[in-house]
Symmetry: C2
Subunit: 403 residues, 2 copies
């Protein structure tokens, strides 16, 4: 125990972010209702972790790790919000959510997982548009079986179901200061862990061992969860940036990439770092420098009024001017918040206008050599005064561990 306490004591502790205030949720609900009017919805229901937690404040690990029981949160355009949830979760709901109207059923009851209760709540919503929003659209994942949603659709007729994702996307795109504080917190933790990475990952360690040590380090520094630690290793570079860890052992001459999505209080960081074990070679050094400059250009372009496409083009231009093939990722960064990747996508077809409060990743990648890829990534928040980095900026030269 003495040993691990010593190791732990060496880790910088950042002050924990504050709890969300009642005003935070009142603001979200007010904005949601304005957007519901725009989208002609009398109400909406959310079932997925990010959307349900965002609107209700309900915090749980259980609901999202056990697909047996669905959890529903209903927000009408006018009138009281309601939780329709399994009996097992009532206490947890009361302890974490602002919403006091809770209906429960003794789940699991696969023949009817609260659908009658839910339909009853929806039927009470004042009707103006005859449309009720559910999670259907782009980048969404429904938190209940589809067959049950289709049954619900019948049960609530003549009210039509419509997509509520445009409402949630607009809401979640612009982060509040309290949300940004949480993302900043996890970015600091990950920045500290990345600073230690060259000493943590050692020649002879397998990729799996490196990922486990790195995730443990993030936890001991204050991350709540580390769902994502992709890794690439290889002589002079790696060939995939989204690979799970393999049994391959880190060797002299390797470049190591780790990309992490770690969570704190319901919010993600998402960035990566490269480390060379011995000289990475001229090709990788050149690409690293170009990507660093592309990242600078992307950061500078992340200002209110620019589009996600412009944030892409600013990065791409640096690489194209140097005659470099862009990576196969399909975009150069994306929104970040309660999901590790969210709206928008920094790519030519995405005309989303960047607003103050948007949190973005800047993530250029380039191909080189024989099927190798290199990637950089930083996290920032857009403000009236321009972009503010949330991750600690990577050094222009790739860190080299002497081996």
């Amino acid at each position: 125990m003495a040993a691990s306490r010593t190791a732990s004591a060496a880790r910088t502790r950042h002050r924990e972010a504050a709890e969300f205030t009642p005003a935070e949720f009142a603001g979200r609900v007010e904005r949601a209702r304005r957007l519901m009017t725009e989208q002609r919805l009398d109400g909406l229901m959310v079932t997925s972790e990010a959307n349900l937690e965002y609107l209700s404040g309900f915090t749980t690990q259980f609901a999202w790790n056990s697909p047996t029981r669905p959890w529903y949160f209903v927000l009408p355009r006018e009138g009281e919000a309601a939780a329709v949830i399994p009996e097992i979760g009532a206490g947890n709901w009361r302890a974490t959510s602002w919403c006091r109207d809770i209906a429960t059923w003794p789940s699991p009851t696969p023949e009817n997982e609260g659908l009658d209760l839910l339909a009853g709540r929806i039927a009470r919503i004042p009707r103006r548009f005859g449309r009720f929003g559910v999670e259907l659209g782009a980048e969404s994942r429904l938190g209940m079986p589809v067959a049950d949603l289709l049954r619900l659709r019948e049960l609530i007729q003549p009210v039509e179901t419509a997509d509520c994702i445009p409402v949630l996307r607009a809401l979640r795109f612009v982060k509040s200061p309290a949300e940004i504080a949480r993302i900043r917190h996890i970015c600091r933790i990950a920045s500290d862990a990345f600073d230690r990475l060259p000493r943590l990952a050692r020649i002879g360690d397998s990729e799996k061992e490196i990922c486990r040590k790195f995730a443990a380090d993030l936890l001991l520094r204050g991350a709540d969860k580390v769902p994502y630690t992709s890794i690439g290793t290889g002589k002079g570079g790696y060939s995939s940036i989204i690979m799970g860890p393999t049994g391959r052992r880190l060797a002299r001459g390797d470049i190591l990439l780790i990309d992490t999505g770690a969570r704190y209080a319901g919010y993600f960081c998402d960035f990566d770092r490269n480390v060379a074990y011995g000289d990475p070679g001229d090709a990788a050094k050149r690409i690293h420098d170009l990507l660093w400059r592309a990242t600078e250009a992307g950061i500078r372009a992340a200002v209110p009024g620019n589009t996600a496409a412009q944030v892409f083009h600013a990065q791409a231009k640096v690489l194209e001017d140097a005659g470099i093939a862009l990576g196969n990722v399909g975009r150069f960064g994306h929104g970040l918040g309660k999901a590790m990747t969210e709206h928008p996508s920094n790519k030519p077809i995405d005309r989303t206008v960047i607003e103050p409060g948007a949190v973005l990743t800047i993530e250029p990648s380039a191909m080189y050599g024989d099927g190798k890829i290199l990637v950089h990534e930083e996290n920032l928040v857009v403000t009236e005064d321009g972009p503010k980095l949330l991750s600690r900026r990577a050094p222009r030269e790739m860190p080299v561990v002497r081996v």
Copy 2:
């Protein structure tokens, strides 16, 4: 570094489970096809982590942490299986899946996330029943936006969509020896971590700190991921068994519960342990003993031919005979495997017949005192020779840390 290496060296290392063989997947596909004939399906498509990984072998952290891009795996009743996946994942697919027929598109392309490619593959499937299976049913979560599934349903007409969950549920219910080896591996790791818990969690630690230390310990012992660490603390007992960690600090006289769902190579353990910091009091001691005996009864009942309901009743009888109120969990254990909770549920309405190869949790809970609940949980595999424990059996008496 010396410090943390010392701590790490003190952790028992269990030999890693073997890779799945080609025969493992061939067996799954053969069983799937037999079940598809029974369910009158010409083919099926899976999009969720557990089902896609189960059938295709594709291993990724990326796909399930980034909801931007969907991933589809199509298995016809006759003919070749096909992956329809984002371009970014082609290399990863080739490195991990047995399936060599890969179609890609340059995702993210929200206007059409591979739906035309997917419909094209489905159109080629030989038709006998005119029905194509998608993930609709109980305990499922679709891995693509529902709006896209509804569009696909139109695109593949006159082929009807039907539920493929009965096929996947039957397949995944009976585990192969290689699957059981993975669950055993993570159960050993968690058993070791729980053995250390009384020294790891200290008076004055917050619940959050305890969960982070415990998850880090699991990782350093060889867990790949620790998605779930619920915790309960309180004087003489706790009041919820599914709470996320709070800022509450462990105090003298507390009972501490941790329940963990940790993962290794795509498989979960799911069990818990109780520890008292000082004398837990007579009420908690009595309930703990009854739950230990209820668990014994549940383990003994987990034999081929018994139903999940009988596994419930065996546990419930011990508590009811003592006049104890059952917990509010809704069941006394469940299936376990690629999901932390899966079919069946040990509860009176579930008549699923237990078969050799089924992996179950035995999880009785009881209410006592002023709104307190106590829970036990063990993991086992059902065999022709009776139940075999996968978790290291909890001691009959609650471990007491002298404080």
